[in-house]
Structure formats: structure tokens, C-alpha cells
Symmetry: none
Subunit: 217 residues, 4 copies
DNA sequence: CATGAATGAGAATTCATTCAT
DNA sequence: TATGAATGAATTCTCATTCAT
């Protein structure tokens, strides 16, 4: 390979090796999310990434570690952006409106096809990879409920909500908003996925029920 | 074979063949629930059932059908008893008490280890066996929510509850009661399973939130 | 089984055992002719004969002997009737007419679907069962050519034919009549089988060519 | 790999991969011709080719396609050379001599052991692989008869032959020459193969009978 | 360093044959 | 005697991982 060619290929800081690693990660993510751990072969991944199997093994010691790393990375990648920006209530003074906006955004994020697949994968492989379930929980529902708890404590201190147990209320909020479509998606698949409008209605209905139960009277 | 020998070997009407079939089903259920579809080999099942592989194949055409039949049967077996008895509110006049009793019973049933495994299995294999997800949903959450909807309509007509949408309320009730421990179980496994007392507390808290939101004022 | 039932079942000299044997033979013949030696399983044969595998093994020591016996019997069964009646020239004084009648009958017999299957089977299994090829040849082409040779010697002695080598002439006659449709059937299968009218034309054309070559001038 | 090493290992343009592929093809041809489709295992082929089973499967998707490709290639390989050179009458003016030379060459080619095996294989597997029978017919007897037909039309136009139906005459010629030894070989095997001298005699006798029937008088 | 090949095992499925009831 | 079950191996095909070039 000429120097010119190399610099063409290794555009923007990413070396050959790093690029291949990224290709492999993307291929593995797709394959694992679609077919599960046992349903995915290293050959498949190599073919999908357009690299040789040897290259896969040079970057990832074995299938288990490849899987772990891919799932971990995918959980992070999906969980991170939501947290920092989204997990904050835009405090407009209209509590119901603010909670709705939060709920809708959150529900849409959780119902992303890729995230649904990831959740199925993690649940299905919970026997083989228990630490992934823990990770997913912590970065997913756990983090959301943490954020909600903080929010709700603030709201309670302002007498907007009436809570004995803020964490419990946070969990109730979370699942009132998400449970219906999420459970349907887990079990009924994505052949007839909920439309965005339906999701919004579920979010709104969850918020309404939550406020009916927890709003300070 | 003499009649005596037969009655010794074949307990209660069950022929040799039926007994073998049962053994295979039990072995397959255990294996599939523990290790998943791809993680279970026909050899394993045969060995677990103390049966030759041939016998397995004489009873079940292939692995897919064995799996389907086992999961279908297990779903039925687990779903049925709950429905008829449990899904009825013992109407004592004390609504909160009645709903608590119902919620506790329901939650314990759903949190049975075997049922949790089954749910994980069905979710994990949703890609390969979509019809099993549908079946599980219909016999599980779907059926519970159906029963709740009927109950709630009756309660609304008696002015005990105030509902715009009984089905939505039923789903909210269901998931207020179940979501927290169920999602933990799905993702965190059963290493530190919720104790019965904790389950009761989740059930009670769900009922309380539900009534705060939906009780006629 | 009652004596009455037995006498019902064992109608006409054929005992239970003999009847089962016959059923097995028929099933085996069908299966072997259709799927070949290796392509046929003992299970298949037992199922087709509506007997248990054990019964098959009681009547036939093993698969090889079952195959040998079946093919031998089928060769005999098919070869015999033809010989005695058909292999004689109806001597009407019109040589061409007589040979045509003979040729047409012979060709139709050879082109019987079952006999074509048998020929394919014997050729295909020639490596595994060489004696069956010899048998088939002797009872089939060999016998026909023998009969023709005798006929032609008689005709030559009457100055109807002019032959140096009667056996060679007999073979030429045989294959002039049969080769075209027979080779097509062997290689092209029976999807578009020759119609009886076509067969007659091949037979007639073969006879015409034969007489043009061998008739005494 | 250095260029030197490559030229050592990879004879004449043929890469590693191509060489392996050739080895597999040769092994498969031998095995299939000897033992038939079902009688040949992929393990056998791999062992015979001194290749791992994986390598076989990397070159040929499955057994069926391997078989098809091998048989197709073998038919081509055997049929081709004969056609171009041999299927032309050396026109010396002596018709009988020319036809004899043609017949002898043709018969020897058809009676090549490998071609006999191939014919048996194709006939035996006609049920499983009907397209191979069609292919064999088209490249074998069909092509020969085509060529003969063309030749005979030319001869008829020169008044050397007297034909109503050139194609029929071509088929008669073909089978007068070949049928006797070919049928014997198909059914009686090659334990006592016809000697070249015998083959020549069959060829000559076929030509003689053909000319007696079809030569212009 | 990257590709094809090899390894060695294990999967699903089928088979011929024998045992036990 | 006849049936279902068992045996033990073989077959096609795939896999994770490693070697050699």
C-alpha cells in the first residue's frame, strides 16, 4: 500500500486497525442483535465486516468477549445520549406538560427498534451473560428511575407532588408510561409496531394516571 | 407382557409410549428453559429423559416442533390454573383489600421461577418463534388484563372506580403491580430474587397507587 | 385371535405369515424401484407394508438379502409371462406382419414403467449387486435374443431370411426395435413417455430396417 | 509467501484455491462414479482429496451441488473431444470403410470404462437428478445422432444412401453399432469387458447391417 | 498482517439391526 | 409373535479456534 493510499484510507485519525475494529463491531452488533449469541457465527461476522476471521480474532480474543464488548458498547451508546440531555425536566411551571414531554421523549427512545432488540437479546442471554442484564438495567431503567427520583424529590419539596417513597413513585411513573407498549413489543415483536401517535397516547395516559395518584391535592 | 407387569410398569392408564413421551417432554422443558433453543441439544434431552435419541425423534418430528410443543404446553400449563380461580375478585366489600389479595396472588404467580424462565425464553426466541410470543401474551398478560377489564367495568358500574377507558386502567393496574419486580427479574436474574414479603409490598404499593388514581371520589 | 377370525384372515391357503411376507415383498418392491437400494430404509418398507420392522427381519435376514430376493422375484415375475406366449412368432405366412406383431408386443412389454424402473435399478446397483445384472440380462434381453435366434434359424432354413450369424441378426433385430425408445426412457425419464402409437412406429421402423438388411433377396 | 514459494506450490497459474478445488473434483468424480450418490460420503471425498471437510464445503455448497457439478463436468469433459474430431466422416470415397472407421472410433469412445460408469451413474440417479439424464443424452447419444443425421443427409444427396427419414436412419446406425456391447456392459459389468477386437467386430457388423438396409441400390 | 486451509468437535437427523416385553 | 424402544454408528453440515503461507 502506498503512503498516499494509506492516508486516503486512514482518514481522520482512524488507523487501518481502528477502522477494521469498528467494522467488526458494527457487523457483530447487527448479527448478535438479529440472531442472538448462539445464532451468530464468527464466520458470519467476518463476512459481514468484510474482513477475515483471523482479523476478528486479532481484535477480540474469543466469541464471548466479542459479544460482551459489543453488547456493553451498544448499551452505552444507546443509553448515554438520553441521560444527560433528556433526563431533565424542562421546568415550565406546567407540571403535566413537562412530565408529558419527558414521558414522550423517554418512551420513544425506549421503543427504538435497536433498543428493543438489545433488550430482547440481553433478556434471552441472561443465563449465559448475567452481567449484561445488570449493566443494561443500570444504564436503562435504573438510570431513568434514578433521574426521576431526583426530579420527584425536587417536585415534592416544592409541594407539586406528594410522595412517601420517591423511588417507588419514580418506578411507578416509569412503568405507567412504558409497560404497555414495551411488553407488547417484547412478546409480540415488531411486525405491527406501535405508531408514534400511539406511543404518545400511552405516555400521556401514564402521566395522567401518575398525576391522579401522586399530585399534591 | 402380563397384565400384572403392565400395571406395575404403566401407572394409571399411561401406556409405555405415553410415559416415554411425558419423560421426554419434562426433560425438554427443563433443558429448553435453562439453556434456550440453540443451547439445548437433542442428545442432552434424550439423556435427561433416559431415552434413546430415536425415541425422541419417534415422538417429535424435529427439534423445532419439540420446542414449539414444549413451550406451548408449558404456557398453557402455567397460565390455566391461574385464570379460573385467581382472576376473580373475592368481593368482600372492602375494595382495597380485595384488590390487594388479587394483586398479591397474581404477582406471586407471575414471579414463579419457572414462569420467569419461560418469559425469558419466549422473549429471547421471539425472532425464531414469533408465534410463541403471541401465545404467551394471550395466555399471560393479555388474559389477565382481559379479566381485570371485566372486573373494573363492574366496579365502575357500582361507582367504586372512575374510568374513562377500562382496558387502559386494567393495564395500568397490571403493570403497577408487576413491572418493578418483573423487570428486575428479567434483567437481574434470580440470584437475589425478591422475597415473598417484598413481592407483597410491591403488590400493595401498586394497588395503592392505582386506587389513588382511579378510585371514585 | 379366534379360530373364526383366523380362518377369515388366512383365506385361500395363504397363512398369516405368507400374507405378511407378500405384503413386505410388495412394499419393498415399490420402495426399492422408486428410491433405489440406499435410498430405501427398512423403516419405510415396514411402514409401507403395515408391519413392524421386526416382522420384516423375521422374514428376510437383512437388507441385502431382502433386496436381492425382491429384485430377483420382480425380474422373474416380469420376464416370465412374456416368454412363453409372446416369444413365438405367429406364423401367418406374411413375414413382415408377423415380425411387426412380435416387435410391437415385445417393445410394449419392455417399455412397461415398472420394467423400466427395474432396469434403471439394476443398472444403478450393478456395482453393489453384480449378479442382479446378470440375472436381468439372462431373463430379459438374453432370453429375447435367444428366442429370436431360434426363430431366425427356422426362417433362414425356409429361405425367408439370409443370415451368416443368426445370433447377431437376432441382436440386431432386438435393438433396432427397442434401442431408440429404451435409451430415451433410461436417460430422459418418464416425464414425457413415448405414446403407444410412437412405440408402434419405432417397432415397425425397426422391423423394416431389419428386413431391408436381412430378408433373402 | 514469496514468489519463489508460490511458483513451487502453484503449478502453472493455478492458485492454491484452484488446486484444492481440482483435487476435490477429482476425488468426488472417482468416488461418485464408483459408489453412486448415496454410496459416497463427504468424509470419503475429503479424505480422498487430502483436504478437510471444511474445504470441501467452502468450495461446494452441499453434496447435491457437488454431485451435479462433478457429473456435469465429467459429461462435458468426456463428450467434447469426441465430437469435434471424431464426429466427422473421413470422406475417402469408400463409404463402407469410412463408416467403419467412424463406427469403430465411436464405439471405443462409448465403451471407455469411465464413460460406462458415468452412464450407469446417470441412469441410476435419474430419479434424484433428472436434469443429468437430459444432459447426458444431449451430449452423448443425442449429439452423435445429430452428427450422423447431418452426415447421412449429405450422403443421401449424393445418392450414397437411400433414406426416408435421416434422423431415424441415424439412430438405427448408432444403435446397430453400439447396442450389443453397451447393453452387455450396462448389465453384465466390466468383469469380462469386450476386447477391442470384439468391439471392432460389433462395429463392423453394425455398419454392414446398416448398409444392407440403407445403401442406395 | 491477512487469507485459505485445517482441526476437532458437535449439531441434527437417519439407519440397520437387536432387545425386551 | 409382534411391537416399541434401544443401540451405536454414520451422514450432512456447521462451528470456534488455530496454523501456515
Amino acid at each position: 500500500m502506498t503512503a498516499a493510499a494509506r492516508s486516503r484510507d486512514e482518514f481522520e485519525d482512524e488507523g487501518r486497525s481502528a477502522r477494521k475494529r469498528r467494522l467488526i463491531r458494527e457487523a457483530a452488533a447487527t448479527a448478535f442483535l438479529t440472531n442472538g449469541y448462539l445464532g451468530t457465527s464468527m464466520d458470519e461476522i467476518a463476512a459481514l465486516a468484510h474482513v477475515s476471521k483471523q482479523t476478528v480474532y486479532k481484535h477480540f480474543a474469543d466469541k464471548e468477549r466479542l459479544f460482551s464488548e459489543i453488547v456493553t458498547a451498544t448499551v452505552d451508546e444507546i443509553a448515554n445520549p438520553n441521560t444527560d440531555e433528556v433526563l431533565n425536566l424542562a421546568d415550565t411551571g406546567d407540571l403535566e406538560r413537562d412530565l408529558r414531554r419527558f414521558a414522550r421523549r423517554q418512551l420513544r427512545a425506549v421503543m427504538e427498534p435497536r433498543l428493543l432488540q438489545l433488550r430482547r437479546l440481553v433478556i434471552g442471554e441472561a443465563g449465559r451473560f448475567p452481567q449484561l442484564g445488570r449493566l443494561f438495567y443500570d444504564r436503562g431503567p435504573g438510570r431513568t428511575i434514578d433521574a426521576l427520583e431526583t426530579m420527584f424529590e425536587r417536585l415534592a419539596s416544592r409541594d407539586a407532588l406528594e410522595l412517601e417513597n420517591p423511588r417507588l413513585a419514580a418506578a411507578h411513573f416509569n412503568w405507567l408510561v412504558m409497560s404497555i407498549p414495551l411488553n407488547q413489543a417484547m412478546l409480540l415483536g415488531e411486525d405491527q409496531p406501535a405508531t408514534p401517535a400511539e406511543l404518545d397516547r400511552y405516555a400521556d395516559a401514564g402521566v395522567r394516571a401518575f398525576l391522579a395518584a401522586y399530585r399534591k391535592r
